[in-house]
Each structure stands twice: as structure tokens, then as C-alpha cells.
């Protein structure tokens, strides 16, 4: 409980940081004026129309990716579980590219395509990765995910290379970023993330028992098939919505559940709420770093999360047993 309070404190600090820091250096008075008495000046617009939406976008995307990672890791009993590594991102990316070819112009129109892609790949990787019955073997699942992700990314890239206009339009999106993501895309995606998080929480108990093995879980009264189906739906909603808003953002889904486990231990009922709080902190801090590191220009948040997440991952795996579930 104390840990969760500290995490919420960190989240509030990160939100404040995200609103305060940017390529326009604004004083506290200007910020306060913008937030409380919006009057349409340039500084007001910078704060309310640019920084607030991207902060909210980071909150939504973070919650989505963090919880999706936790559910994937629990469902597959695989410490490497991540929407990116298992190809769910890549599936959403491919279908978004198809959508762009069919005329989808803005991230809000990417949404349905991202869902279809995320769902197809989640099911495909899970079916290929599992031996039909029983939980999938982590190595096989990772192999399936890496293979599927590579194939889909290859097809996406071929499509964008054959069509330079699409290439240019997807270039900013495919790096993963919160630039120009307004409430017009965040609000339609938000309900899906909320439903996804609720489904994940609903699955937390059964996922805990399934961590003991499928046989023991059934004998404890867990409906394994139902849990798997709901988990897959949750992963689809969370990853699809997050990817549609921000593009593929790597490593948040991988690293955040590890951080949560490190704080609260292996209980999914606690890991998932922690992920909802911690993942946005990670994303917001990464986004702020991306804004200041090459000031006044920006580095996309997906690039920063890779630079932040990869060392964390390497550190985790170098610790004796931290990465095992």
C-alpha cells in the first residue's frame, strides 16, 4: 500500500514535469494562467492544446502497455513477454499501414485497424506458441513471436517502400511518439483501455492460480479456457488502443511488470494496479527526456523508452533471479 502511494506520488510528479517542461520555457505564472484562465494566447495554447493532450496520451498509452505486458507475462509464464517481442505491435503496425493505404489519415482512423492487427497476432502467436493444449512453452512462444513480428514488419516495410507517400506519413507514427496526439484520438481509445484494464483485473486471481500450473489451477476451480480468452481480449484492447495512439512504443510492457514484481512480489492482483501507475510514470519521464535531450527539437518517446528500458532489462537479467516469475 505504501508502495502504491509512492508510485502515485511519482506519477503526479511526472505529470507536473510533463506539463512544465518543453521547448517553450514557461514560468509558473504563465502555466497557472493557462490552466486556470485559458484565454487563447500562444502560451495558453502551448500548455492546454499541446502539453496537456500529450500528457494524457502518455497516461492512457502507459496504462495500456504496462497492463498488457503484465497480462502477457502472466498468461504465458514468460518473463520476456512484451507486446513488442511477441509481435502484437507489429500486427497492429501492419494493419495500420494497410489502413493508411486504404485512406486512413489520422491516428483515430488507425484504431480499428490496430485492434484487428493486435487480435490476429495475439491469437496467432498464442496458437503457434502453445502446443494446442496447456500453457505455451516460453521459448517456443518467444520464437513464434519473434518470427511473426519479423514477417509482419517486413511486409509493412515493403508496403511503405513501394509507396513513398505512405512511407513519409507513417515515418513519424512508427517511431512511437506523442506529438500531435490530441483528444480526438485519445478519447475514442480511452474506453478500450479502461475495459482492457478491468478485464485484466478480473483475470488477476485466475492468472495467479495458473502461475502454479494448469492442473493445479483447474483443481483450485479456475476456468482456464475462459481466463485465456479474456486475457487475450484484454491484451488486444490494451495494445491495439495504445499502438493506435502512439505507434509502437517498445519496452514499457516488458520492463514495467518487472518493476512492479520487484516492489510487490508475484501477486497479479497487485501487479496490475501498480502497472497502471508505474507505466505512465516511465512513459512521461521518457517523453520529458525526449523533449529536453536535444532541445529545442525532440526525440520520439519510443526511442527514449528503448534507451531507458534496455539497460533496465539488462540490469534485471544480470541480477540472480529477478527476471523469473
Amino acid at each position: 500500500m505504501l508502495g502504491l502511494a509512492a508510485a502515485v506520488g511519482a506519477l503526479i510528479a511526472a505529470v507536473v514535469l510533463s506539463i512544465v517542461v518543453g521547448s517553450n520555457q514557461l514560468g509558473p505564472a504563465e502555466l497557472w494562467h493557462a490552466l486556470t484562465a485559458y484565454s487563447g494566447t500562444t502560451t495558453d495554447q502551448v500548455v492546454v492544446d499541446l502539453r496537456v493532450p500529450r500528457t494524457v496520451a502518455a497516461l492512457v498509452v502507459g496504462a495500456g502497455l504496462g497492463v498488457a505486458g503484465a497480462v502477457i507475462q502472466a498468461l504465458t509464464r514468460n518473463p520476456l513477454g512484451d507486446p513488442g517481442i511477441l509481435g502484437v505491435d507489429a500486427g497492429a503496425g501492419l494493419f495500420v499501414a494497410i489502413g493508411v493505404l486504404l485512406g486512413a489519415a489520422s491516428p483515430v482512423q488507425y484504431l480499428p485497424f490496430a485492434f484487428v492487427g493486435a487480435f490476429v497476432v495475439t491469437v496467432l502467436v498464442y496458437v503457434v506458441g502453445s502446443a494446442g493444449r496447456g500453457a505455451p512453452d516460453p521459448i517456443r512462444l518467444t520464437l513464434a513471436g519473434v518470427a511473426v513480428a519479423a514477417v509482419l514488419t517486413g511486409i509493412t516495410t515493403a508496403m511503405t517502400l513501394l509507396d513513398p507517400v505512405t512511407f513519409n506519413r507513417l515515418r513519424a507514427w512508427s517511431a512511437g511518439s506523442f506529438i500531435e496526439r490530441g483528444f480526438d484520438v485519445i478519447l475514442p481509445a480511452l474506453p478500450f483501455v479502461v475495459v482492457g484494464v478491468l478485464l485484466a483485473l478480473f483475470c488477476a486471481r485466475p492468472l495467479n492460480t495458473m502461475g502454479l500450473g494448469d492442473d493445479l489451477a483447474s483443481s483450485l476451480g479456475t476456468n482456464i479456457v475462459r481466463t485465456r480468452v479474456i486475457s487475450v481480449v484484454a491484451i488486444t484492447l490494451l495494445t491495439g488502443a495504445a499502438t493506435a495512439i502512439a505507434g509502437p512504443v517498445a519496452f514499457v510492457g516488458l520492463m514495467v511488470p518487472h518493476i512492479a514484481r520487484w516492489i510487490v512480489g508475484p501477486d497479479q492482483r497487485w501487479i496490475i494496479p501498480y502497472c497502471v501507475v508505474i507505466a505512465p510514470v516511465v512513459l512521461l519521464v521518457s517523453d520529458v527526456i525526449g523533449r529536453v535531450i536535444l532541445w529545442p527539437s525532440e526525440v520520439p518517446v519510443g526511442v527514449v523508452t528503448a534507451f531507458v528500458g534496455a539497460p533496465v532489462l539488462i540490469h534485471l537479467v544480470r541480477r540472480a533471479k529477478a527476471s523469473s516469475l
Binding site: 520476456l80 517481442i85 503457434v128 506458441g129 502453445s130 502446443a131 494446442g132 521459448i139 517456443r140 518467444t142 520464437l143 513464434a144 519473434v146 518470427a147 511473426v148 519479423a150 514477417v151 514488419t153 517486413g154 511486409i155 516495410t157 515493403a158 517502400l161 513501394l162 513513398p164 512511407f167 513519409n168 515515418r171 513519424a172 512508427s174 517511431a175 517498445a250 519496452f251 526525440v299 520520439p300 519510443g302 526511442v303 527514449v304 528503448a306 534507451f307 528500458g309 534496455a310 539497460p311 532489462l313 539488462i314 537479467v317 544480470r318 527476471s323
Partner: protein, 350 residues
């Protein structure tokens, strides 16, 4: 003296003090793969804007100076086809070494960060220093990047010995960082430079001529010769470090040299043609399945790599409206094969 049962039919060749024992199945499949590679290579020499008949190609190869065929075959198509064969073999062997050393099918240069290092090194040359894709500085950058990435992954993953799982995770982490660097570089570049860099970054044989092929093939040949002396220790290392030591191998030097050879192979190919994805991951696994060897065999891996890359390059050039980078085809072919393999194994297990 009783005969040892090796579990499969074997043949032994003896000449003076030397003898070599090989499995019949491996030898037959190796011969079939080599034949298929030659056929596909000749087909690749026939195809193009100026179609040639196989007879023209073969007579040009045998030294006929007649007509355009000689020019087309030797100046335009041969460097590309030969590099597909040699680079495919090099990638297959590079992957086989890593998979053998780590006893893990995932631990190919693609996954453990080596390709990403070469990619980043080459990309820095193209975007930051503005040199053309496929040139010698790009190759140099790719080799330096590959070696640095390999060293970084090794150092970061080494903790009271090497562990396959840790190696893969560290490799994924390092790859992700380097790929993020690549995305960032491409994003900052002008659109034209970004397109050129993106095509190189996917692995393409388009820019490969004799000037790129000759230095690369010299390095590959040297490494292959060096590997001849390392095959014995490699087989013993597959039994585990303790067993290898008790059989007389010097474990750490052997492993280090094997890694250096594998890094050199991947980096040379990346420098000349960009990171051609997935051959080094898929070729050893395909070879292992069709030859049904217990471990990862180098020669079949090389042959499968050569065949797959040569065939993929034909598909990349001629199957689609535009001339695509071959790396995209190898990704789809190699990745698709792995997916099929996984499904197939599931069916058989039931």
C-alpha cells in the same frame, strides 16, 4: 573390436593418415542442396531486363566471349548472384556457430544484437558522414559496429560464465537500443537520405558489384579456412564445458575464436549488403531439420543459407512490381518457415 552404432548410416573416406567419417543422409542432402543452389544461381543469371537462355549463360561462364551474354553475365549479374551465394553461406555459418555455442536456436546474430550493431555502424556512416550505401566506409562502420555490439553483449551477459537465456535477453536489449538509434537517425535525415538508408538497412544486393564482392569474399574465405581448425573444439563445446575440457579442448580460447569468426562473417555481409535478416536464424534450423543431425552442422547450414538467399534475391528482384530489398524477402521466407515449423511440430506432438 565392436562396431560403434552411430544411429544412422555413415561412410568413411580414408587417404593416407587422414580419414573422414560422414553420415550418408547429410552427404546426400548436402549434395542435393549444392545442386539446387547451382540451378537457382544459373536461373538468377538468366533473368533480368535482357533474358538469357541457360545455354547462353553456361557458355558465357565457360569462357565464350560472344555477344552481349558475356558482358551481361560477368559485369552485371555474376557479382550479385555470387554474393547471394557467398553471403548466404556466411550468414548460415555465422548463425550456426552462435546457435551451437549457446545451444539455443534463438541466439543467432539477428537476435543477440550483432546485426543491430552492424546496422547502426553502417547507418552512422551513411547518415552522419554522408557516404553512399554499399561503399567501403559503410562496410568498415558495420564491422566496427558489429564487433563493438558483440563485445558489449558479451561483457553485459557474462556473469559467472555465459548463460544462453541471459545472452538472448541482453542481446534483445542492446538490439532495441541500436534500432532505436537507427530510427532516430532516419527520422532526422532528409527524406531522400532516409529512403536510401532505409533500403540499405533492410539488406539489399542492389549496390553489390565486383568492388564490394571481392573484399567481402576474401574475408569470408579466410574465416571459413580458420573455422576448419575450430570445428573439433566446437563439437566438443556442444557437450558442455566440462566434457570439452576433459576431451582436451581449451574452452575459452576456442569459444572466443568461434565468436570472432561468427562476428566477422555477419559484419562483412552487413557492410557489403546491409543486414539481411533471418538467414542466420533460419538456415541452421532448416539444415538441422532436413539433415536430422543431432547438433548444428556448419556445411549444411552454409548450403541452406546460400540456397535461401539466392532464391530470395530472385523473388525480391522479379516477383513484385518494384525491385525490393532482399532482406524483406528473407524476413518473410525465414520467419514464415519458422512459424510453419512450429505449427508442424505441434501437429506431430499430438
Amino acid at each position: 573390436m565392436s562396431r560403434v552404432d552411430f544411429g544412422s548410416r555413415t561412410a568413411v573416406l580414408r587417404r593416407g593418415p587422414f580419414s573422414i567419417r560422414f553420415r550418408m543422409r547429410t552427404a546426400l542432402i548436402g549434395a542435393a542442396l549444392a545442386l539446387a543452389t547451382v540451378v537457382v544461381a544459373v536461373l538468377a543469371l538468366c533473368l533480368g531486363d535482357l533474358p538469357l537462355s541457360p545455354v547462353d549463360v553456361v557458355s558465357a561462364l565457360l569462357g565464350s566471349q560472344e555477344g552481349l551474354a558475356h558482358l551481361v553475365v560477368f559485369e552485371w549479374r555474376l557479382p550479385r548472384v555470387l554474393s547471394a551465394v557467398v553471403f548466404g553461406a556466411a550468414l548460415g555459418v555465422s548463425g550456426a556457430i552462435f546457435q551451437s555455442l549457446t545451444r539455443n536456436p534463438l541466439a543467432s546474430p539477428d537476435v543477440i544484437g550483432l546485426s543491430a550493431g552492424s546496422y547502426a555502424g553502417g547507418l552512422i556512416m551513411i547518415i552522419v558522414f554522408g557516404v553512399g550505401a554499399g561503399s567501403v566506409p559503410v562496410a568498415g562502420g558495420a564491422i566496427i559496429g558489429g564487433l563493438l555490439a558483440a563485445a558489449a553483449v558479451y561483457v553485459l551477459a557474462y556473469r559467472n560464465g555465459m548463460h544462453g537465456f541471459r545472452l538472448i535477453v541482453v542481446g534483445i536489449g542492446v538490439s532495441a537500443m541500436l534500432e532505436a538509434l537507427g530510427v532516430y537517425l532516419i527520422l532526422r535525415a532528409k527524406l531522400e537520405v532516409a529512403m536510401v538508408a532505409s533500403v540499405w538497412a533492410l539488406g539489399s544486393l542492389n549496390p553489390v558489384g565486383w568492388a564490394q564482392f571481392v573484399p567481402a569474399v576474401v574475408v569470408v574465405a579466410v574465416v571459413f579456412v580458420a573455422l576448419g581448425t575450430l570445428v573439433g573444439p566446437m563439437r566438443q563445446l556442444e557437450l558442455g564445458d566440462d566434457a570439452a575440457r576433459s576431451l582436451g579442448s581449451r574452452v575459452e580460447p576456442a569459444r572466443l575464436w568461434l565468436v570472432v569468426c561468427a562476428v566477422a562473417l555477419t559484419a562483412v555481409v552487413t557492410g557489403a549488403a546491409g543486414p539481411i535478416a533471418f538467414i542466420s536464424l533460419a538456415a541452421p534450423q532448416i539444415a538441422k531439420r532436413i539433415t536430422r543431425t543431432a547438433g548444428i552442422a556448419l556445411v549444411p547450414s552454409a548450403l541452406v543459407g546460400a540456397l535461401v538467399l539466392t532464391a530470395s534475391d530472385i523473388v525480391a528482384q522479379f516477383a513484385l512490381p518494384d525491385n525490393l530489398p532482399v532482406g524483406l524477402v528473407t524476413v518473410v521466407v525465414g520467419g514464415g518457415y519458422l512459424v510453419w515449423l512450429l505449427i508442424h511440430e505441434v501437429r506431430r506432438r499430438r
